[in-house]
């Protein structure tokens, strides 16, 4: 019996989703997560199976992100008909300052509403608030939000400060909920609560499930919930809509840029499908438990064969098994020849017929979806980098290892120095970089981005579905055509770290081992 099956069978017992609680358990507890590992994927898998995954301390660490920043702060503030309140000092929300501009670059012709407004406030906690408490301030901020915008929902995002000083958010909310029309949704995303940023996803979905999702008025048999990440673009949405509409299905994209009503109606859908499995996990299980909405977690629609399988899974739960095979056939006729061309292009780049080596920094969800896609393109990964790892995706990792062979895996949440070390030591033909990491992209070799961003509406930037598989393939081919920018800057500017760091072989040099 597979691990997935074992966990599925006992899931309720192992990790109950308990909406009577104020928040979810941390990923550390729920799924034995870690943000530090380097070694064979097979060993990580064994450790996971045997409950031996460790989440050790580092003596050198970099600011990779907390539960609030950046996964939630820049995202919840894009929900329409709502107001987000950061119950925090003023700096915790500054990352949300891009909110008004984010989706404005998407042309109205591509389905972006012409008129919309996004709003957030901060309680702007001061020293006095820290000493005397900030319950009244939060209350007044809620009233201010209600008065200004009459929103359908008010999200309250908590912070390290409110956590440490022990603010009773639920107490404040219960005092004031009856006086206003908006539904108040507290989300416990205190930065200090967890080492694993994915806890933030779960905390958000917990709030959505507990406070926003309504009892279904009627089941909508043609509606599919799809949780989209900030790293998936408008074109990815259009591609998924295109494919599902051919099956007679509609998509409910949440939470980015969704309306509150879309969140309320999650319970009415026929299915919850993943784009990123670890992102969707808590929501999917919650909707299943509370409203019997079925779900699947793997695969995401990345690459041709994963898109085939994703569509088949969707079809299975929506009674479209016959239609889906027809759709896949049609789509293959259009797209597979283009993928073959890309493979040929990439083959031409080989030296001594050795497969091109690519190194990518990925989320856990992308780890299990993108490696098979690289394999499809005839590319090889000497190592994969994942922001974190937990036992929610054990079966999927096993499947990947079976399919493409064992590989090294580095688990870290944006630890730029560790990544710089293995980029230097493995010297891949192409580095996929996550663009937040100082000078890591400066090298005398090929570099490109691992993912595009939500406001990017150009078909060139797509990555999902068939159109995305082809677009991203072409994009990768282009990455090999000019390396001037990274090369000249690697030559002309100082390196981030001292030479010894690049020369020594252990990216986890600063790990506190066995202490």
């Amino acid at each position: 019996m597979s691990n997935r099956q074992t966990i599925e069978d006992n899931y309720e017992e192992l990790f109950p989703i308990d909406l009577s609680k104020n928040t979810c358990p941390n990923r550390e507890q729920r799924a034995n997560g870690t943000n530090v590992y380097y070694g064979k994927a097979s060993k990580l898998l064994d450790d996971a199976k045997n409950n031996k995954i460790l989440c050790q301390e580092r003596k050198f660490q970099q600011s990779g992100g907390c539960v609030l920043n950046f996964y939630l702060a820049v995202r919840v503030a894009t929900i329409r008909d709502a107001v987000t309140i950061f119950n925090a000092p003023v700096g915790c929300s500054s990352s949300a300052l891009g909110y008004r501009e984010l989706f404005r670059g998407v042309p109205v012709e591509l389905g972006r509403p012409a008129q919309y407004n996004l709003n957030w406030l901060t309680t702007n906690l001061q020293s006095d608030d820290v000493i005397y408490g900030a319950a009244d301030k939060l209350k007044n901020t809620i009233l201010k939000a209600e008065e200004r915008y009459s929103p359908k929902a008010i999200f309250i995002l908590t912070s390290c400060t409110t956590g440490i000083i022990g603010e009773d958010i639920e107490g404040t909310v219960s005092e004031i909920q009856d006086k206003i029309n908006a539904r108040i949704v507290p989300i416990h995303c205190e930065g200090v609560r967890s080492r694993l940023v994915q806890t933030g996803y779960d905390a958000f979905w917990h709030g959505v499930l507990k406070y926003l999702v309504k009892e279904p008025k009627e089941k909508q048999e043609d509606l599919v919930n799809v949780a989209s990440m900030l790293s998936y673009t408008w074109q990815d949405r259009l591609e998924i809509e295109r494919l599902l509409s051919k099956l007679g299905l509609r998509v409910n994209f949440i939470p980015e840029f969704a309306t509150v009503e879309q969140l309320e109606k999650l319970s009415e859908a026929a299915l919850t499908a993943p784009i990123c499995p670890t992102y969707t996990d808590y929501l999917s299980r919650g909707l299943k438990k509370e409203y019997d909405v079925p779900f699947f977690l793997y695969p995401p629609p990345t690459g041709i064969s994963n898109t085939d399988e994703w569509l088949r899974q969707v079809a299975k739960y929506t009674g479209k098994e016959d239609e889906v095979e027809k759709l896949i056939n049609e789509e293959h006729k259009r797209w597979v020849p283009q993928i073959n061309n890309i493979k040929e292009e990439l083959k031409k780049l080989r030296v001594d017929n050795k497969k091109i080596q690519v190194l990518g920094s990925l989320g856990q969800g992308r780890l299990v979806s993108q490696l098979p896609y690289y394999d499809e393109l005839g590319l090889e990964s000497p190592a994969a980098m994942s922001q974190d790892f937990d036992d929610l995706l054990m079966d999927e990792l096993e499947e990947v290892i079976d399919k493409i062979g064992d590989f090294n895996i580095m688990v870290n949440t944006f630890q730029a120095a560790e990544q710089a070390n293995i980029i230097q030591n493995l010297d891949p033909d192409l580095t996929f970089t996550c663009p937040f990491q100082g000078g890591n992209w400066e090298r005398d070799n090929n570099v490109t981005r691992i993912h595009s961003l939500r406001g990017d509406a150009d078909p060139w930037s797509a990555q999902s579905g068939y159109a995305g598989a082809v677009a991203f393939g072409n994009f990768i081919v282009q990455a090999f055509k000019n390396k001037s920018y990274q090369k000249i800057l690697s030559e002309k500017t100082e390196k981030s770290y001292k030479d010894w760091w690049y020369q020594q072989p252990d990216p986890l040099y600063y790990l506190e081992r066995g202490e």
């Binding site: 970099q62 990352s95 300052l97 020293s127 200004r148 930065g191 981030s496």
Partner: protein
């Protein structure tokens, strides 16, 4: 006509209902145009070449400010030491319970070992303040190993503009020692990296223009060997402060500790008039021959004003004597308002000051604008940090141009019927490297930016 020198009655200024001084914003606020104290120290450190911030904070404070301060400062990533490259103690619950001191000690040690950098700035955020870590003692352990300072900057104790002041306070107290005076050397203060979005180009322009009158400007930021620049601060003959409030405290401190007098100028000088005035003031204080100053001014003005003739047909045929609105930090607001009014002949409709200056500086900011605009028009001047209020204040007004942050960029036309130019924090919609409005050429660049919003075939 009101002329520049006509005295405006002070009582009028303060009792005028067009002026809303308000008080320091410590209530809840919608999308304010600044971040926290930690962010201000962080951005200031990253502005120094060789400066390595070490965050003693939760794990999100660096990446959060990457999005909310660095990208927001004209799409400037933080380089080798910014964003997710920033060393951080990444405090979580167990540190809250048991203390974060050991974690910080390891972090400082390893950062000094691994980073190419010369000045290490330990920045304490909210968490260590709340749990009572003794950060000073830990930093003390490393003072003989590297140039290192500690800045205590919990987010709840100030905003990012104030963080700039906290950074300099720590530098003066912990790093600077008396130096032999160097004639004609001046330090430049009042320009806050990232938060003043044109900081890089402004500093370079100021340096270049002062060089022409034989003054060596220590601009500290953007140049190689930032630590050396900092160490030579006490050698200066004068400090020059380019703000009605930023940098005043540091200038006072340097005056008291190293007997360096300072020259105040209300903003970075924008365009020919302000720049000529700036040069005369500096020349007078530093005993530079007025012939030298005047001949430079004549040469620069001659070129500048000839250039300002080129777009005149477009200005006069399409958008002459137009009302404009400014929403910006105090320095940017002062410089731009004076230039557009006094040189382009535009009409200041409403000026909203967004950097939340301490109360004691607010009247002087208002006066600097009111007393120095050459028009009968009296603009509304409002200190406002709250984006909802800012937008309400902009409704139903005659302005045709809105100079503000990029928050208003996508909808300025539909919301206010105005053409938009991004000039103040946050600016996400333009990449700002050398572009800026300071000096003679800077005024021309502002001219270009304004005229380019509306020109087409005539």
């Amino acid at each position: 006509m009101t002329s520049k020198n006509e005295k405006v009655n002070q009582e009028n200024i303060l009792s005028n209902d067009q002026i809303q001084i308000n008080s320091y914003e410590n209530d809840s606020v919608e999308a304010p145009r600044y971040s926290c104290a930690l962010s201000g120290v962080y951005g200031t450190t990253l502005g120094i070449r060789g400066g390595v911030p070490i965050l003693h904070s939760g794990a999100g404070c660096g990446i959060g400010q990457l999005f909310g301060t660095l990208y927001a400062g004209g799409q400037s990533a933080g380089g080798n030491e910014g964003g997710t490259s920033t060393p951080c103690s990444c405090l979580v619950e167990e540190h809250v319970i048991f203390g974060g001191e050991e974690k910080l000690r390891n972090l400082i040690q390893s950062t000094i070992e691994i980073f190419n950098g010369s000045l290490f700035v330990v920045i304490s955020g909210c968490v260590p303040s709340l749990i009572g870590d003794d950060v000073d003692s830990i930093v003390d352990e490393f003072r003989d190993k590297a140039s290192i300072i500690h800045v205590n900057a919990p987010g709840f104790e100030g905003n990012s503009f104030e963080g700039y002041e906290q950074f300099w306070d720590a530098i003066v107290k912990q790093l600077l020692t008396p130096k032999e005076k160097q004639p004609k050397l001046v330090n430049i203060f009042g320009i806050v990296p990232y938060n003043h979005v044109f900081w890089k180009g402004e500093l370079l322009n100021i340096k270049n223009i002062l060089k022409k009158i034989g003054v060596d400007a220590n601009i500290i930021f953007t140049e190689k060997d930032g630590l050396e620049n900092i160490k030579k601060i006490p050698s200066a003959e004068y400090n020059i402060v380019l703000s009605q409030w930023q940098g005043h405290e540091i200038a006072e401190r340097l005056k008291n500790k190293f007997q360096i007098p300072y020259i105040k100028f209300p903003s970075v000088p924008v365009g020919a008039k302000q720049t000529s005035e700036f040069l005369r003031k500096v020349g007078e204080k530093l005993n530079i021959s007025s012939d030298k100053i005047e001949s430079l001014i004549e040469e620069e003005e001659d070129r500048t004003y000839r250039f300002m003739e080129y777009p005149a047909d477009a200005v006069i045929l399409v958008r002459p004597h137009s009302y404009f609105a400014v929403v910006a930090d105090s320095g940017t607001a002062i410089g731009i308002t004076k230039f557009l009014t006094n040189e382009l002949g535009y009409l200041p409709d409403i000026i909203q000051i967004t950097d939340n200056p301490p109360d004691k500086y607010r009247e002087s900011i208002v006066k600097e604008i009111i007393e120095n605009i050459e028009t009968v028009v009296r603009p509304d001047i409002i200190f406002e940090a709250d984006t909802y209020n800012i937008r309400e204040n902009l409704k139903d007004r005659p302005f045709l141009f809105l100079l503000s942050s990029s928050l208003e960029a996508p909808t300025a036309t539909e919301d206010f019927g105005a053409l938009h130019i991004s000039v103040s924090f946050p600016v996400y919609n333009r990449s700002i490297l050398v572009h800026n409005y300071s000096g003679y050429d800077g005024g021309l660049q502002l001219f270009e930016d304004v005229i380019s919003t509306f020109v087409g075939p005539l």
